[in-house]
C-alpha cells in the first residue's frame, strides 16, 4: 500500500487487513447461510448447535464490519468480537470431542473448524495479531 500514512480509520482494512476482511466476510456469509438453513429447516433437531452457528455468524459479521469501519471504536469492538470468537472456537472445539451428545449436528466451530480447513481456529489468532499490530499508538510509532 502506498498510503501507509493514511488516517488510522482505514488502517484496519488495508494491507493484510484486507485479506482478513475477505476471509471474515466469507465466513460471515458461510456461517449466516449455515445457521439460516439449519434454523429454517429443522430448528428442534440441535437447538444448541444451531444457536451457536447463529452466534458465530453474528460475530463474523461484527468483526467484518468493525474492520471495515475502523477507528478506535471499531478496533475495540473488533477486539471483543474476535476474543469471544477465539473462546468460542476453543470451547466448542473441545466440547465437540468430549461431549458429543451436546452437538448432534455440526457447527462452524465443531472439531476446531475441521469442516472448514481449520480456518475458524486460525482466524481469531490472525485477527488478534492484526489488531495488536494496528493498536492505537502503534501505528503512529511505526
Amino acid at each position: 500500500m502506498a498510503d501507509r500514512t493514511a488516517a488510522r480509520g482505514n488502517a484496519l482494512a488495508e494491507g493484510w487487513g484486507r485479506a482478513l476482511v475477505f476471509v471474515y466476510g466469507l465466513f460471515a456469509v458461510a456461517a449466516t447461510g449455515r445457521s439460516a438453513v439449519q434454523l429454517g429447516m429443522e430448528p428442534e433437531k440441535a437447538t444448541l448447535a444451531y444457536s451457536l452457528s447463529l452466534v458465530a455468524a453474528v460475530l463474523y459479521l461484527v468483526a467484518t464490519t468493525c474492520l471495515l469501519l475502523g477507528g478506535r471504536t471499531g478496533w475495540r469492538v473488533a477486539g471483543i468480537a474476535v476474543t469471544i470468537e477465539l473462546l468460542g472456537v476453543l470451547s466448542v472445539g473441545a466440547l465437540s470431542y468430549l461431549a458429543t451428545d451436546l452437538f448432534p449436528d455440526r457447527t462452524v466451530w465443531s472439531h476446531f473448524g475441521q469442516g472448514y480447513g481449520f480456518l475458524p481456529l486460525v482466524l481469531p489468532f490472525a485477527g488478534l495479531a492484526w489488531l495488536r499490530h494496528t493498536r492505537p499508538g502503534a501505528v503512529a510509532a511505526n
Binding site: M1, G15, R18, A19, V21, F22, V37, M41, G117
Partner: protein, 121 residues
Amino acid sequence: MTGWSYGVILAIAGVVAVLLVVDLVRDRAAQDSHFIGLGVLQVAVLVQLVGGAVALARTDRDVEGTVFVSYLVTVALLPVAGALFSLAERSRVGTTILLLAVASVAGLELRLWDVWGTARG
C-alpha cells in the same frame, strides 16, 4: 453433468493455486497470468452454476436443493470477489487473497460433491 465438473474445476483451481504459490514465494503481486487463470475458473463455475441448476431440476434424487444452489452461487461469486479485493492490494497480500479465494472454491467444490453425492433417492 455435475459429476465431472467438480474434477475439472478442482484441476483448474489446482493449477492457479500453484501459479499463485510460486509468485507468493517470489514476493510478487498478482500477475496477469493469475487473472487469466482466475477468468478461466470463473467461466467454469458459471457453467457449473447453470448445469448444476438444470441437473437439480431434472434429478429424482433427494438432493438438498437450497444448500446445493447456495453453494453453487457462492462458488460463482468467489473468483470475482477475490479479484476485486486483490486488485485493491497490489502486493503479496493481493496474491494471498487470490490464493484464499481459489482454495475456498476448491473447498466448496468438495462440499458440492458431498451434497450431490450423498443424496440417494
